[in-house]
C-alpha cells in the first residue's frame, strides 16, 4: 500500500516539475513549487522521515513560497521568452542524469535492511540513543547531541542569511499616511479570525519547541511556525502595527542571542572540562546533562530561526509596501 502511495506521489511530483519548466506565468510557477514542496513532504512522511516532512512543510513550502511571492510582487509575474537555445542546457542535464542513472545501477536496493547505510553508523543511534541521550526521538538525539556541531553550523547559516538579507534590503519604517491599503486592512472577518488564530499558532509553536524531544518537531520547526504567526499578523494588520509588537531591532538582537545561547552551551561544557558541546558535563548525571543541553540549544535554535525568518520577511514586506507607495 505504502509503495502505491509513494508511486502516486512521485508521479505527481514529476508532473509538477515538468509543468514548471514550460510555464511562463511565474505566479503559477511559485504556486506549483509550493505544491511540489508539500508533495515531497508527503513523500518524506511516507518514507518515515516525520521530522523532515514537518520541516519541509513549514520551511520549504511555507517560508520559501511566501518569500517568492513577495519577490514576485516586486519583479512582475511574467517570464519573457528567451532567445538563446535550450540545446546546451539539455545536453548538460542529460549527461548529468545519465551519470547518475549509471550510479544507481550499483546502489543497494531500496529499503533493504541489510544495506550498508543501515549497518554501520546508524545502529548505535537506534539502539543506544535512549540510554546515552535519554530521548525517545532519535532524530532529535542525533541532531542536537551526536551531530550537534552540524546543527550549530546550520543555525549560523540562518544567521548569515539574515545578515545578508538585512544588508541587501534593509527594513524601512513607513510613515503613517504613506502605507498603501491592500484591501485587507479594514477587513472585519480577517481581523477577528486572525486574532483568534494567532495565539493558537504561537501556542502550537511552543508545543513543537518543547515536545521535539518526544515527537517530531524541535527548534527549527517551532521557530518557523512562530514566525508564521507574526507573518499572518503583518499580512492582516500591516507592517507598522507589527513593528510595535516585535521591532526589527529587537529581532536583530534575538537572532544574535540565539546563536550565542547555542555556542555558550558549548563553551560552558568546555569550561567544565569536557569537549565543546559535551552535554554530559552540564550536570552531575550525564543523562540529565544531555537533557539540559538539548533543551537549551533547541531554544537557541528556535530563537534564531524565529528572529531570522521574521526579519527576512520584514525586509521583503517593507520593500513591497515601499513599492506600493511609489
Amino acid at each position: 500500500m505504502a509503495e502505491f502511495i509513494n508511486l502516486a506521489l512521485l508521479a505527481l511530483l514529476a508532473l509538477t516539475a515538468l509543468r514548471i519548466i514550460f510555464l511562463k506565468d511565474l505566479f503559477s510557477v511559485v504556486m506549483l513549487f509550493g505544491i511540489y514542496s508539500f508533495l515531497s513532504a508527503s513523500i518524506f512522511l511516507n518514507l518515515d522521515a516525520v521530522d523532515v516532512a514537518f520541516t519541509e512543510a513549514s520551511v520549504g513550502a511555507g517560508i520559501s513560497t511566501v518569500l517568492m511571492l513577495g519577490t514576485l510582487a516586486l519583479t512582475g509575474r511574467k517570464e519573457k521568452a528567451s532567445k538563446h537555445s535550450s540545446c546546451l542546457p539539455l545536453v548538460v542535464v542529460c549527461v548529468t542524469g545519465a551519470v547518475l542513472i549509471y550510479g544507481t545501477l550499483d546502489m543497494p536496493p531500496f529499503g533493504d535492511p541489510n544495506n550498508p547505510a543501515h549497518q554501520h553508523v546508524a545502529p548505535r543511534y537506534i539502539e543506544e540513543s535512549l540510554k546515552e541521550v535519554g530521548l525517545p526521538n532519535m532524530v532529535t538525539s542525533v541532531l542536537a547531541s551526536y551531530r550537534g556541531f552540524d546543527t550549530l553550523g546550520e543555525v549560523v547559516v540562518v544567521f548569515a542569511a539574515a545578515i545578508g538579507v538585512l544588508s541587501l534590503l534593509g527594513i524601512r519604517r513607513q510613515k503613517d499616511e504613506l502605507v498603501a491599503d491592500t484591501g485587507l486592512k479594514e477587513h472585519r472577518v480577517l481581523h477577528v479570525i486572525a486574532k483568534l488564530i494567532i495565539p493558537l499558532i504561537i501556542l502550537f509553536a511552543l508545543y513543537v519547541q518543547f515536545h521535539g524531544d518526544f515527537g517530531p518537531g524541535g527548534g527549527f520547526q517551532a521557530g518557523v511556525i512562530a514566525a508564521a504567526a507574526f507573518i499572518l499578523y503583518t499580512l492582516v494588520f500591516g507592517l507598522k502595527r507589527t513593528f510595535v509588537v516585535v521591532s526589527p531591532k529587537f529581532l536583530a538582537w534575538m537572532a544574535s542571542i540565539g546563536v550565542l545561547v547555542y555556542a555558550c552551551v558549548g563553551l560552558f561544557s568546555m569550561f567544565k572540562g569536557g569537549q565543546f558541546l559535551d552535554y554530559n558535563q552540564l550536570a552531575a548525571d550525564p543523562i540529565a546533562g544531555q537533557h539540559y543541553g538539548i533543551i537549551i540549544i533547541e531554544l537557541g535554535v528556535g530563537i534564531t530561526v524565529f528572529a531570522a525568518m521574521l526579519s527576512i520577511f520584514y525586509a521583503f514586506e517593507s520593500q513591497v509596501e515601499r513599492s506600493n507607495v511609489q
Partner: protein
C-alpha cells in the same frame, strides 16, 4: 468495530467524492468566483467528512483530540481564506462572468 469501520469508510469515500468534485469544479467553472465557490466545497464538507472518517479510525485517545483540533482549525481558516480571496478579487476590481457579459451588452448597445 466492524460497523465503525464501515461508517468510517463511507465517510472517507464521501469526502473523497466531494474533494474530487471540488477539484473538477476548479477546472471546469468559467470564472474566478465560481471557482472559489467550488474550491471551498473541498475546504469545508470534504474536510469534515474525511476528518470524521479518520476520527472513527482512532482508538479515541490523544490522536482523536489532535484530529478534532485540526478539524476546528481548518473550519476556522479555510472559509476565511475563501472569503478573503473573493473579497480581494472584488476589491481589485475583478468582474464575475455575468457582470462581464452585462458590461459587454451595454457596450454593444451603446456602440
Amino acid at each position: 468495530m466492524l460497523i465503525l469501520d464501515i461508517v468510517s469508510a463511507l465517510l472517507l469515500i464521501a469526502g473523497g467524492f466531494f474533494g474530487l468534485s471540488g477539484a473538477i469544479g476548479l477546472f471546469k467553472f468559467p470564472d474566478f468566483y465560481t471557482r472559489v465557490h467550488s474550491a471551498s466545497v473541498t475546504d469545508s464538507i470534504a474536510v469534515i467528512l474525511i476528518m470524521g472518517g479518520l476520527l472513527l479510525q482512532t482508538s479515541f485517545d490523544i490522536n482523536t483530540a489532535k484530529l478534532l483540533f485540526i478539524m476546528l482549525f481548518l473550519m476556522l481558516t479555510s472559509p476565511t481564506a475563501s472569503h478573503a480571496l473573493a473579497k480581494s478579487a472584488r476589491h481589485g476590481g475583478l468582474a464575475s462572468m455575468a457582470e462581464a457579459k452585462m458590461d459587454e451588452q451595454e457596450n454593444n448597445n451603446n456602440g
